[in-house]
Symmetry: C2
Subunit: 199 residues, 2 copies
């Protein structure tokens, strides 16, 4: 009876923390609700009080992942510099996150069959808004034009792809670094980038 669970009221938080570590260790397949309960010192049915099923836990992890990545990018953007410098910093932060938490990233960008709504999608929207704000700060572009949106998508897609290629070991770190630099160069020097900065 000395092993009474010590997380009164925050078992949910503890489970999420442990689940993130477990995800980092053994991927989605290695994530077990029962093992999680064991580590937390509660019965195997206890997680049910906080997550209706395994998928609900995975969803919560994905949402939390989006929020954390959003924070990371905001932190990177707090460093003063030109748009080019900031773009490199954001790109590196994005890729770093994706490599450090590859399985979590898979969860965040897993193919869903359900409708695009709910807290995960909203957290993803907040992530993409970071790019909007960063571009709006430097851009003289009128909001009516879609150049900013297209630039943002192009940048996001390239960083996401770089992250996937690196996390899956299809390319190595130096290649990824050069890829980010090339992407920033090409995008900023493009006609799209020009319209954005001096439109």
């Amino acid at each position: 009876m000395a092993s009474r669970p010590f997380h009164h009221g925050n078992l949910r938080v503890v489970l999420l923390e442990q689940a993130e570590a477990m995800l980092r260790e053994g991927g989605v397949g290695g994530l077990s609700l029962r093992e999680l309960a064991r580590q937390a010192g509660v019965s195997h049915g206890a997680p049910r009080s906080h997550f209706v099923d395994r998928q609900a836990l995975l969803d919560a992890l994905a949402e939390q992942g989006f929020n954390r990545l959003t924070d990371n990018l905001r932190t990177a953007l707090r460093t003063p510099g030109t748009l080019e410098e900031q773009a490199r910093l954001v790109g590196r932060a994005y890729v770093d996150f994706a490599v450090h938490d590859a399985a979590l990233m898979d969860l965040m960008f897993a193919a869903k069959q359900d409708a695009p709504s709910g807290p995960i999608h909203e957290a993803a929207l907040r992530l993409f808004q970071v790019f909007d704000q960063a571009l709006a700060r430097e851009s003289t572009q009128s909001p009516a034009d879609d150049a900013r949106e297209r630039f943002k998508l192009l940048f996001t897609a390239t960083m996401q792809g770089t992250a996937t290629l690196l996390a899956s070991r299809r390319i190595d770190r130096p290649q990824a670094e050069k890829l980010i630099d090339d992407a920033v160069d090409v995008l900023l020097a493009s006609e799209l980038g020009g319209r954005l900065l001096s439109g």
Copy 2:
């Protein structure tokens, strides 16, 4: 005894085919060896003769996926046209595959902790070689320069990212189409693209 298994010598092929469909239905989590055996009309231990464990089946699926995607891209490249037109076709083929077989794509680009070797990695190399050949056909670039390699990585990363964003419903089809077009435009008009085509 009327239900004698009819796949003498090709149970492996049958299992892989069914597994691909199962993957398309319910994702990696929904892929069960026992269910697979049931559908094939064999005992639950039978797959063991062809795949040492579940991971071996997943690896075989990933390798097969790379080979099929390689074929799809080669087919797209068989259509005559300018480099720009071919790049759009290849981009669409890449993204189409990623959306139709999203779970398989996840398997192909899953984060592996083991060393980058083996049949999967070789199949991935063959995929990327398709881009090399396509660029070599149109390029006057000397092979010593790394412009072609950097162009290839940039293109691949962008298509991979677009595929992920679309498969995860972060963007929709029209946005993905425009994204591919923008990427091709920006890349071909870039200094890097210029060096590639007229170097």
